[in-house]
């Protein structure tokens, strides 16, 4: 493995006097697809927010492609990392095209209009996500799945080599979940975008990702391959409950079912 794209060393974060993340060290290889799992309140979203500087860690260091996060200007960082926040729904006055074009902000100058490169990036992002036909629709009129694809298109238009996603398939029906996961897999394989995605679905993590990181109460409880993750003692350490195991009928990938009492 060469230089990791993201190298997190001894990261700690406190918010309002409460320790949210403690001594996290994690190196995400370039081109990888990594799932970030863990119970509610474990600090998964906070870790993503540290990576895009919404939160400033109390201790530790984050390097993006070998350069300290603090060394990046706002726009320079946005050219390296894009972010798809948790879908909050609600209304918005913008069309899909207008929203996706906002992904090109790191390349805009004051008073500037879109360049040919911007227009091509927007067209390509809409095409890859299958949102071209929705381009002139208002975001407020989209379904949850369409809106999530629009958010991914906006992040894709950013042209960054790393995409962070916060529960991209939460609140979606099975078909839309499958669509979003297939889309992320394509973005990873065909566009070469490194993906770090928060999920509560262990099976999704096992099927889509090569590596997984697990946080428990702000500490890194697991970091390694998803195959090795699917062991009862490891999952029990993360979630505090036992799991039953089965095999995916087509791929043979190990799947889990919570062993509810």
């Amino acid at each position: 493995m060469g230089n990791p794209l993201i190298d997190i060393q001894h990261l700690s974060l406190s918010l309002g006097g409460k320790a949210i993340l403690q001594n996290i060290s994690l190196a995400v290889p370039r081109g990888d697809m990594v799932s970030l799992i863990g119970p509610n309140g474990a600090g998964k979203t906070s870790l993503l927010k540290c990576l895009i500087r919404i939160y400033t860690p109390a201790e530790g260091d984050i390097k993006i492609d070998g350069q300290s996060l603090q060394g990046y200007g706002s726009k320079a960082l946005a050219r390296r990392i894009s972010y798809v926040p948790q879908e909050e729904g609600g209304s918005s006055p913008f069309t899909v095209r207008e929203y996706v074009s906002m992904g090109r902000y790191p390349y805009f100058h004051p008073f500037s209009s879109s360049s040919a490169a911007d227009k091509e990036a927007i067209r390509s992002a809409l095409a890859i996500t299958g949102m071209s036909a929705f381009a002139d629709r208002s975001l407020g009129t989209l379904s949850g799945g369409e809106r999530q694809k629009a958010s991914i298109a906006a992040a894709l238009a950013q042209g960054a080599e790393m995409m962070l996603l916060d529960e991209p398939s939460a609140f979606l029906d099975p078909r839309n979940q499958a669509d979003i996961l297939a889309l992320l897999s394509r973005i990873n394989h065909e566009q070469g975008v490194t993906i770090l995605s928060v999920t509560h679905d262990i099976n999704t993590a096992a099927i889509t990702s090569r590596h997984a990181a697990a946080l428990v109460e702000g500490k890194l409880a697991y970091w390694g391959g998803t195959d090795e993750l699917m062991e009862n003692d490891i999952l029990k350490k993360i979630y505090g409950i036992s799991f039953l195991f089965a095999s995916h009928p087509k791929t043979g990938v190990k799947l889990v079912i919570p062993d509810a009492p």
Partner: protein, 335 residues
């Protein structure tokens, strides 16, 4: 039947032509209609009325309307709130308090090109801006919700002080304060326009320069930050630029309501939410709207005048409701 809206660029061209038309026609209208031929006639009479009274008043109205409208647009974007107005953060209350203090103290002075009441009103506006910014900075960062709450609290506090001053004033002072609070564009010569112009022009240029950022701020601070916007710096620049713009306008014209809240909504319905086109449309529409409203205010019961603040909502309200009802989608989910 739903109204068909022309293309955005066509709308902007229509607004530009309407602006030119309004700026040419409205100074000719009034208690007495001035013929075009009289404009370049000998000094005195109609020529003087046009050049020294009507034209300065029309220019002042246009600048004030444009500034208030674009300020409302900016605050609605920053706070992601349909109800935000140029006065949400207490600038108008600060200015009104300054004006009330001036009247209550019975002062009578003026600076070159600026009346004493405008000086006090502007000082009040600056005081409210400083307090709101200071309160917001006490908490880490520049939290939008803290700023909004601080602004609303200051606004109520200053409004109470104004009521207190009114209560403690004699009838004449109290009447002057109430009339000032209604908002009136009563100017002679270009001094008022020249006073506001630097603030409105600077604010306008800053808003144009930050139109991409305004789009992103409407999507929320997380998305803005992740796209590369320095959110706190952008909000601080917009806050000061727009608040000073509003302060200068309110100092000259008083707190004229409605135009700042509704003009951006009307333009959003017509031209969409992209601030690159919405900002120029709002500026032109706000300017046209207040100029027409002021023309109505000074002609409706001529030779007497109505406060323009009364007219803005009277003619703007029904127009806005008609536009809202004629569209198939809500104001925040356009097209």
């Amino acid at each position: 039947m739903k109204t068909r809206i022309p293309r955005k660029s066509t709308c902007l061209i229509i607004l530009l032509i309407a602006t030119i038309g309004v700026l040419i026609v409205t100074p000719l209208l009034g208690m007495k209609t001035i013929p075009l031929s009289a404009l370049f006639g000998p000094e005195g009479g109609d020529s003087d009325i046009f050049w020294k009274i009507r034209l300065p008043r029309v220019i002042t109205s246009f600048i004030a309307g444009a500034g208030l409208a674009v300020s409302g647009m900016v605050f609605q974007a920053i706070f992601r709130n349909l109800l935000a107005t140029p006065f949400t953060l207490g600038v108008a209350s600060g200015a009104s308090l300054g004006a009330a203090v001036y009247v209550r103290l019975g002062l009578a002075f003026s600076l070159p090109g600026l009346s004493g009441i405008s000086v006090f009103a502007f000082a009040g506006a600056v005081l409210s801006i400083a307090i709101v910014y200071g309160l917001t900075r006490i908490r880490q960062g520049l939290s939008t919700s803290t700023m909004l709450l601080a602004g609303v609290a200051i606004s109520f506090f200053f409004s109470s002080l104004i009521l207190f001053i009114q209560y403690m004033s004699n009838f004449i002072h109290s009447f002057r304060i109430v009339r000032w609070l209604m908002g009136t564009i009563k100017v002679v010569g270009f001094d008022s326009a020249v006073t506001m112009a630097p603030f409105v022009l600077t604010g306008g240029v800053i808003v144009f320069a930050l139109s991409h950022e305004l789009n992103l701020l409407m999507m929320g601070e997380e998305i803005s930050t992740s796209r590369g916007v320095n959110v706190n710096k952008t909000k601080a620049i917009l806050f000061f630029a727009v608040s000073l713009m509003v302060g200068s306008i309110v100092a000259v014209c008083g707190p004229i309501g409605f135009v700042g809240m509704m003009a951006p909504h009307i333009c959003r319905l017509i031209i969409g939410a992209d601030h690159r086109k919405l900002a120029p449309a709002t500026i032109l529409f706000g300017g046209i709207f207040l100029t027409v409203a002021d023309t109505v205010a000074r002609t409706l019961i001529a030779p007497a005048e109505m406060p323009v603040g009364v007219i803005t909502a009277l003619i703007g309200g029904p127009f806005f409701i008609w536009l809202l009802m004629s569209r198939s989608s809500s104001i925040w989910d356009m097209r």
